[in-house]
Symmetry: D2
Subunit: 362 residues, 4 copies
């Protein structure tokens, strides 16, 4: 994969030390796959497609299904992230985290169930095993004919089957294909941080599907750039959402992961969002530590490690920093798209040179 | 519709005064529709289908999309009820409430989006309108080859398009087709109560998809009948779930409806359930009062009525009574089915005569 | 302590196997202490006092302050249980659980802070340690001149300093002194159950401060005794509350203890309560397992044991059974009291002989 | 009251239009009172007192007790804000909002009950009325001998009895007296914004008790000033908390006020906080609109107005802006204090001239 210049490549500054890929895949075992759907209008069928599906697979899924411990926070619930009842109660989930457009949630869920059944045939055949997928969404009805419900089963399987570690594509890819952030072209972004606690090294990685914010609110590195970049504005008020997925290999329990997820709000606030009413701002955090078999096959009493709460600030800081950078990575990797509603409206990617110029006080 | 004998027809006693149909459809405007899927095994395709879809449409949906005020409670979150982030935050939802099997949630959501787009074309074309359906589920993998993912788009549309008021079918219908309750055949059930507050009459109606409980726990009218009915037991521990939908025409706001939903736990407890770990026990409450247009088209400031909290006990009581009766209505209307896993196992409907005999102390 | 006859002594039947004291003190290390305040009216000072304070100390508090893992559920939040923000977020609390009357919460909290500072001087002197006590309450304004704010610092210290293991007094003692349940005299009650999981033995104990329910709702062993016992009714609608504290020595994590706490609703429902609006029905669960030092002094990474979720049903069942029995123990141990508002109204303790007669079908 | 220079007086820039006092008292009817406790060490009694109590009275309390509609958010629950069960469930509270130090919560609650009983004698005498006060706290054990539990009943009454509208004192006053923010002297701060919606004017006001943040995190107007102001640092990691109270006269219902309260996290994030683990970051929002009598005396069905959700972004923005400014107002009005633990350590107020210099890029 040839990677485009990213936020720090163009000269933006961030705190903290990223992992080797500065991506959610820096958390050992986490893989990411996409299906990107781009089609010109087809008379009588759709007005133009610009959407997709993102799959984040928390850890090596060969062999048995291992849950990951998890927490979730619905900062602004005007959106959907299925699987939340499970995560809230059980503190874990099975299988991948999927992100797509608002009207693709159902098909993505349907197809993910199929993929899980197929992949873990033996368990689904023998046990009374069920699958209630974790699927988040943001609205792409400006750039995509969302009412065409374009996401099909094969798209979802493509995202799942192509998931890999290493560098991660950003911008107009996967579920983030048709996104708009701060009235610039938005999309998929990622970042990570290394954390050292009492001599032990951990990684925290973030992936966002950034579809939120108004131009008036937009800030970068503390500079109100939105007030200086007034061209090609898109709409009067917030219309989108942001999904944040935070992964770590540190041994955090569900009640700690809930708190970690909650830091998403401070993270998105760093670029000026106030969490607009129309925005489904929902944040998921999971830990790949303390792996164990699924409950039906796990031991009666499990031994776990749990990090002392007094060290959580390092993770909160890493999450906030990573969310801030992932949002900008999404925007900087994104490419111009022409809207379907209102038809013909150009949604521009941000001009990195101009952005840096303004941030640097020119 | 020829209605089967119901719990009170066979001689069981309940408190409170039901509405004319003793059904959720007693709440003015509420309609119910089903798609029931029953198929013998097809070699290489599936091992036998016994499942379906239930649609509850909160009020007259012609013209514009009117949200209903709503609250939700996840008593045991080992299940799914999509749309909950919205309901928790906004206090309302748009469109129908759907209930199906665990692996049918995705397709039901997908199809419901299509139905909404089709039905409210003008709004979806003109506004940036999205649809995140409310879909609950329970697991029917004992009686249904759940891994065949049998629910298709046309099933969902059938449930939605056939929704009507009046008497409501119970037992092996719709999403409740393949359910098991207290190790007897379970399914779909309903009941209602009339409430008078300060001279004004209101109705509260309940629909359940009953798939919960072990025989050991089973009680009817305070009698531990499960200890007396030991034949045809199905499994060692709780494996299912129960979805409870509570509708009312009383003017209750979201924070009150959350509390009303929460009474579902006391309701299901009346037949002996302890809310088993494997059970997704999730309760939704909505009010058809205070109707207004969808937010994009509603006035800047809306006038609402809200019932004084001091009268809520009457609604709590009605909800508990209706849940208790609806569960028994589901079981008494249900019919025997043979399991697919373990194959050949007979899951019997409860014998009403024997039940009444035991309750009456014979 | 001479123990009065308890619910099972008078012939009522319950499921499950209690511990040796059938009390919360069967959970190793848990101690209970009371301060009971009973005074005749004093002209110009108060109209009569009938109140008190209960202290539950989760485990041996000598040496260092060890938190206990905890979860909480606010089934009906029309009440107070301080410390809940901490418990929700951190999953643990430090120090005792206190229960008193509604207007005694502040003084009980104040005095408990003093007791903690005094008892753990070294830690409070050296560390930046704070204490935010866990204090629940129910309203006793019918039997007690609650507006006299009778609870003083020495009462709280008395409850804390007299806490012991072994048999536990019930009825008109401690915080439960002025309580009314189902329009009979209520109060403090306790019960416990033994649980065996995969060869390991655990104990679950419950303490309630029972001040809830209307006569119309009252049921015992599934019999609607409230419809048969119509004498000496007190008020038209629910006015009180119930606090439930669940203790166990099983290794449960906070997200599991939240779920365990939530079973309180099914427990109180077994005697007919619907969770009336005026009732603060708040449930706390804690586990004495996985003891570790307070966070400032605990290791960076702690090793814990956690019980597999698949075994939780045994604990849910034990909690429901213990709550049901503890409420009846409270009522049966209680003694008649004359009200202060309305003055002179007699609030009778339930007549055990008559109760058993009705339950037995006489 | 002679008001000190405030954040915008020294040249800091903020967005939005403040009300006449740029204070929470700009919301009609809201009054604020303080008790400030400052004492030199007294051998054998205490090591020095630097603490107090703040009272915010939501609206004219003469005559009957009118609840205010309310919502609450516990962003980081390592703290206390009593009354939260009530607010979460009922969506309103009665009486004042109090803020004090961590070990003063109990006495403040106790005294507030007394004040309410005294002030609304008739209602407390006639009805079965209870009072469960709303009391928040932050930890001042660095500057105050918190273990001396210095807050007494008369202090609380002083804060309540002196509450007035108009300009509001800031810095080392009331509950904020002994606070530390970003390792500078912190305290009490306030700010407000005017909002126009569809031709109607509303006000939103904020009060904070700022005791949070580390120097490393500190940012002002997007500039990382904490990295430039390295003198007089206090501790290695976050140790405090922040309480945010948001008042408005806009007709918002509880489910909307919950969302408004939640914006506190973005507000505090604007000065660099990540919501540290040791910080109890709890946010309360209330609306003085839709006033009605207390439930015992209110009509059976109440008529309310509710603002359309589509306008909430203006309130979210106003809340974030006001929180940001109130925190800086608190810090700029604050004055140096010498610590009691570690004894003798000087905690300096921020130097406004130096701050502005750095923000302006000098």
């Amino acid at each position: 994969m040839t990677q485009k210049p990213r936020a720090r490549d163009i000269g933006l500054k961030f705190s903290g030390m990223p992992g080797p890929y500065n991506a959610i895949t820096d958390v050992p075992g986490v893989t990411v796959g996409y299906s990107t759907i781009l089609e010109n209008p087809v008379e009588g069928v759709h007005k133009g497609l610009c959407t997709g599906v993102t799959a984040i697979i928390p850890r090596g899924m060969s062999g048995s299904i291992q849950p990951v411990w998890a927490g979730i926070d619905s900062f602004n619930g005007n959106g959907e992230f299925t699987g939340s009842h499970l995560i809230n109660d059980l503190g874990w989930f099975l299988g991948p985290v999927m992100i797509t457009n608002s009207h693709g949630v159902g098909m993505t869920s349907h197809a993910t169930v199929g993929w899980m059944i197929d992949r873990f045939k033996e368990i689904f055949n023998e046990d009374h095993m069920w699958c209630l997928p974790v699927v988040g969404e943001t609205y792409d009805g400006v750039l995509n004919d969302i009412n065409a419900r374009a996401v099909q089963e094969h798209h979802v399987l493509e995202a799942l089957d192509t998931a890999t570690g290493g560098p991660v594509a950003e911008g107009n890819v996967g579920g983030g294909t048709g996104m708009i952030a701060y009235e610039f072209k938005g999309g998929t972004g990622t970042a990570s941080r290394k954390i050292t606690v009492a001599g032990a090294g951990y990684t925290l990685g973030v992936m966002v599907q950034a579809n939120h914010g108004t131009r008036n609110w937009f800030e970068v590195s503390g500079v109100a750039v939105g007030h200086r970049m007034r061209e090609d504005m898109v709409f009067g008020h917030e219309q989108g959402s942001i999904i944040v997925v935070i992964a770590t290999d540190a041994p955090l329990m569900p009640h700690q992961l809930n708190r970690l997820a909650r830091r998403g709000s401070i993270g998105i606030g760093r670029n000026g969002s106030k969490g607009g009413h129309n925005s489904g701002d929902i944040f998921l955090a999971f830990s790949t530590a303390n792996g164990h078999d699924n409950p039906w096959r796990a031991p009666d009493v499990m031994n776990l490690e749990i990090l002392n709460d007094v060290h959580l600030d390092l993770f909160y800081e890493a999450a906030v920093q990573s969310v801030e950078e992932a949002v900008l990575n999404a925007m900087i990797a994104a490419e111009d798209r022409v809207a379907v509603k209102p038809a013909g409206k150009l949604v521009r990617a941000i001009d990195p040179a101009r952005l840096v110029e303004i941030v640097n006080g020119a």
